[in-house]
């Protein structure tokens, strides 16, 4: 029995290795804010959100598989949360009753296993009931298959079968073992033989046949003998105890997998509810293959910004199909960083099967997402700032493959403009040659100008909008790079100087 809500054909791997630039992504895209919103303070939900969010899928079909499951979840929030609750209950029960297999003796292993199995049977019955009552409301391939499996595998007969075993394994009538003679005439291959379930007195039955039967009874004070007898019994039930314990572990794993695979969707539900409260829209993105170049959206906003300031934020539109270089220049505080972050967030959210923070969104899949942001100078580091930036760039180059995407935010500005531009130009040129999509927020006019003058069909230039009076709209518009970033505006805003004084 497999859950298969995250993949159509395999289990979700919660300990999958995250990309090597995990830390940079977390920091540059403010991912903690996103995952916190999904987790609502629950550590496990956070971990699952992070694990899923950072383990991007590159197959559009897989993405659509999860999108469909998620659409079902959004339609049936109560039922989905109820299923999740069953897995939580399993953990609570185990903790509350100290359940687990802590002994090294088969008899102890067996009795612990029976207790656990009985608890699991209760939960599985609940799951069956949910499947019976609600399966019809679900349309996705994932849930349809899941409910069908529950109904088929966990039918009434099966529950009867399990309960019969659990009863029989208490051996109220004694233990019947079969053995052979090994080396030194020592008993070996102790095997538990089957009790006859139609006959309550099966032992009597077995031993009532004509062949001779010899018996002895232990002296009541023969403690040593009682221990020896216990050991003998343990040998006989060793294998069945192992089977019961492993079964308990398997069911435990099944329920855990269920919890892991639903956790991501619960996180999505939590997020969608918060965005709905802010009046923000969400949309299911259209992923296209990594070989294509598409990037078109409307109303794309920075979900982390919205969550942080707890209000609706400005969205942007872009039609950049066929482009693989987007250079963003323009006004300080004009929403460039926010825009860049929304690009990265949307990419990650799309590629884990989530909705995105936009009215509509379509983009090609990236084999890898990398961020290269200007960092605060670290006083503890000896290396100079440009050195440090180039070091990080070198790490990216170590890990990047074609059809990836890099988001640069004011990179390589730690030197004079000419040198910074030249470094940037060289790096970006090679990346483009390697079929890597680049978004570059920059104040390096020279760098932007060089690419603008090339009049490449595959490049697009955006500018942070500034109205004539210096006010920002936080909208990006397409336009030629400008030589000023309107830093004076900011200066004036902060120092409050009048026009005449400047």
């Amino acid at each position: 029995m497999r859950v298969f809500l995250m993949y159509p054909d395999r289990d979700f791997e919660p300990n999958q290795k995250l990309p090597p630039n995990e830390a940079a992504l977390m920091q540059d895209l403010e991912l903690n804010t996103l995952f916190d919103a999904m987790a609502l303070g629950d550590e496990f939900l956070f971990e699952m959100a992070k694990q899923t969010g950072l383990s991007s899928l590159s197959d559009p079909d897989l993405i659509r598989y999860r999108q469909d499951v998620l659409k079902d979840c959004l339609k049936n929030t109560t039922v989905v949360r109820e299923i999740y609750q069953i897995s939580i209950e399993s953990i609570r029960n185990k903790q509350k009753h100290w359940m687990g297999i802590f002994t090294r003796y088969p008899s102890g292993i067996l009795s612990s296993s029976i207790v656990m199995l009985q608890m699991f049977v209760g939960l599985l019955k609940k799951l069956r009931k949910i499947a019976d009552e609600h399966a019809g409301q679900f349309a996705s391939a994932g849930f349809t298959k899941f409910f069908a499996m529950i109904q088929q595998e966990l039918d009434d007969d099966y529950f009867v079968e399990i309960e019969n075993h659990l009863k029989a394994l208490k051996f109220r009538g004694g233990v019947l073992l079969n053995a052979e003679l090994g080396k030194g005439n020592e008993g070996v291959n102790y095997t538990l033989r089957k009790p006859n379930k139609h006959n309550a007195h099966w032992i009597k039955h077995v031993f009532a046949k004509k062949s001779p039967v010899y018996s002895f009874t232990l002296h009541p004070r023969d403690d040593h003998g009682a221990r020896a007898l216990g050991a003998l019994r343990d040998r006989g039930i060793n294998r069945v105890a192992n089977a019961a314990a492993q079964s308990a572990e398997h069911i435990d794993n099944f329920i855990n997998t269920l919890r892991q695979e639903i956790a991501f969707y619960i996180g999505c539900l939590n997020l969608s509810e918060q965005l709905a409260q802010l009046g923000e829209s969400i949309a299911f993105p259209q992923p296209v293959s990594a070989n294509e170049r598409q990037h078109s959206f409307s109303g794309l906003y920075d979900v982390c910004l919205a969550l942080t300031i707890k209000q609706k934020v400005t969205g942007n539109d872009l039609a950049a199909d066929g482009k693989d270089l987007v250079i963003i220049t323009g006004a300080n505080q004009g929403g460039k960083s926010t825009f860049l972050r929304s690009i990265g967030l949307a990419q990650l959210m799309m590629q884990c099967g989530m909705f995105v923070a936009a009215e509509s969104f379509c983009a090609n899949i990236c084999k890898g997402l990398f961020t290269h942001y200007k960092r605060e100078e670290d006083v503890t580091m000896n290396s100079g700032k440009l050195d440090e930036e180039l070091g990080r760039m070198s790490h990216i180059v170590d890990n990047i493959t074609p059809n990836s995407m890099v988001l640069f935010n004011e990179s390589f500005a730690a030197t004079n403009e000419r040198e910074g531009s030249e470094i940037s130009r060289q790096i970006v040129s090679v990346l483009l040659e390697k079929r890597i999509k680049v978004f570059f927020v920059t104040h390096l006019y020279e760098f932007a100008r060089v690419f603008f003058q090339k009049k490449m069909g595959s490049a697009i230039f955006l500018r942070a909008e500034r109205q004539a009076n210096g006010a920002r709209t936080f909208k990006l518009i397409e336009g030629e790079p400008l030589q000023t970033s309107y830093g004076q505006d900011l200066y004036k805003q902060i120092f409050g100087l009048s026009r005449t004084e400047s």
Partner: protein
């Protein structure tokens, strides 16, 4: 040739010595033998290694056996046999210790089965292998005859028959509260399988194995013994067959094979060490041996104990040469300390001793003298119980040695008379040297007294050497040349900038 022993070509000689020879620790041979026998305690091999031989024929006999065994296939066959025989012994020991009749008899049967397997295996393997040595050829004839003998064949057939009968025994045990019932097995089905099947569908991924390992700790408590008694009553004929077997074959191990099993380990132990040491790029050779000629040599010889301790290190083992031509008898080794003099002396002694065991010796080529006794005198810690001063102690010991030594003995002296004035040491040493030369025995004498090196035409000078440019580096090479302590002294002086020229420069004029 009838097979007598894999170690001896003839009867009537002393095969073993229980006491470790006195010189073993000085030559570090105790370390070598400890290493050889470390994993073979049960064979009690040391008495063989404590027994040097002077019979050239027997030594050749051993060389042949060793040369056969250098073939990896034969060695593998011998080791396969050697793995099985201890099992026989272990089972027989077990029989002595056990309490319950059919438990004992069951293990006795196992011992017999293991023995049959070991012997038939060895006979088959020896017949598939090319053998040259007299020892192995005779053994092959012996064991082939034995395996085909009526005695062995019936042992084998009977043992198998009895075992088959017992292996076919199947019984049921019912445990309820304090009562145990036993009956024959009558086709009841396996319940574990059924439980496993029920929960099969949840299987995904690996889970822990909760099975408890009951396979270890063979033994039988009184409950199991009681159950076995019932099983005996269920299958009386099969156990009666076991009874008959135990009576008929109560001494099934052939004495010659038992002895062979132990003696062959002498070779296995030594050749295993040789193989390890060869990995360090060192050579072994079968020496020429003689009871008459004292014209000995050893080329690229090394200290086996040292080589063994350096086995798993990067450090190289330095090899040295020696030779003595008539009338030379005494090698006087001098030169800087830490230069490998003691190691050289040990090497000389080890080569002769190992040669007298019939073993390949460390080195590329060697001719060795078969001594009657080896004496060593290495500097020792002062022993408070001796109630003597060190010089006195030295003299007493050398006196005792000279009282026992014969012209056929080998003597190794290491820095004696170090605890007296140089003048005393020189005169005492010369007196001793005179006696040695007169005795005409082979001797290595490590000393700081240069004069001994040119004592007579029977003495030869060998010197430990240094790298001239850097006197602190020892080459550990001992070469045959006249003593020239001066060169060494000068280089040390140079290092401390105390040559005359240097002193001149350092002292302001």
């Amino acid at each position: 040739m009838a097979f007598y022993s894999i170690l001896f070509d003839k009867d009537g000689v002393q095969k073993e010595t229980t006491v470790q020879p006195a010189f073993f620790t000085d030559l570090n041979l105790d370390q070598v033998i400890d290493a050889l026998t470390a994993h073979k305690q049960e064979y009690n091999l040391k008495p063989f290694f404590y027994t040097p031989l002077r019979d050239v024929q027997t030594l050749r006999y051993r060389h042949e056996v060793m040369q056969d065994m250098e073939d990896e296939t034969l060695m593998a066959h011998i080791k396969a046999f050697a793995e099985k025989m201890p099992i026989v012994r272990r089972y027989l020991d077990l029989v002595e210790k056990l309490d319950f009749n059919y438990h004992k008899k069951g293990w006795f049967l196992e011992a017999a089965l293991a023995y049959c397997e070991a012997v038939t295996g060895l006979a088959r393997d020896l017949n598939l292998t090319a053998l040259k040595s007299r020892g192995f050829l005779a053994l092959r004839d012996y064991i082939t005859d034995y395996v085909h003998s009526q005695e062995f064949q019936t042992l084998l057939t009977e043992a198998k028959k009895v075992k088959d009968g017992l292996s076919g025994v199947k019984y049921c045990v019912m445990v309820r509260h304090n009562t145990v019932k036993v009956k024959k097995y009558e086709g009841e089905t396996d319940y574990s399988v059924e439980v496993e099947k029920t929960f099969e569908k949840f299987k995904q991924g690996a889970v822990k194995d909760y099975g408890v390992d009951f396979s270890k700790g063979s033994g039988m408590n009184h409950i199991e013994a009681k159950i076995l008694d019932f099983v005996v009553r269920l299958y009386p004929e099969r156990f009666a067959a076991l009874d008959r077997f135990c009576v008929s074959y109560n001494q099934f191990v052939d004495e010659t094979i038992r002895v062979f099993d132990r003696e062959i380990q002498f070779y296995v132990a030594y050749l295993d060490l040789v193989a390890d040491i060869k990995h360090k790029g060192l050579s072994f050779c079968y020496p020429q041996v003689s009871v008459t000629s004292r014209q000995v040599y050893g080329y690229d010889g090394f200290d086996l104990a040292l080589a063994n301790t350096l086995l798993y290190t990067e450090k190289p083992v330095i090899c040295n040469d020696f030779f003595l031509k008539d009338p030379e008898r005494v090698i006087v080794v001098s030169g800087p300390n830490q230069g490998g003099k003691t190691t050289f002396a040990r090497m000389f002694g080890q080569l002769h001793y190992l040669g007298s065991l019939g073993c390949p010796v460390p080195g590329r080529a060697a001719r060795l003298f078969l001594f009657d006794q080896v004496f060593t005198h290495f500097e020792r810690e002062e022993d408070i119980r001796s109630l003597r001063g060190k010089l006195q102690d030295d003299l007493v010991r050398i006196h005792d040695i000279l009282a026992c030594a014969t012209p056929d003995s080998i003597l190794i002296l290491n820095e004696i008379f170090a605890s007296t004035t140089l003048k005393d040491a020189v005169s005492l040493s010369k007196k001793i040297m005179a006696k040695l030369v007169k005795l005409d025995l082979l001797c290595i004498w490590v000393t700081f007294i240069d004069e001994l090196a040119c004592f007579s035409e029977k003495t030869v000078s060998m010197v430990s050497t240094i790298v001239p440019e850097n006197p602190a580096v020892r080459t550990l090479k001992i070469v045959r040349k006249p003593t020239d302590g001066l060169a060494y002294a000068l280089s040390i002086a140079e290092k401390h900038r105390l040559t005359s020229k240097q002193i001149k420069e350092r002292i302001e004029s």
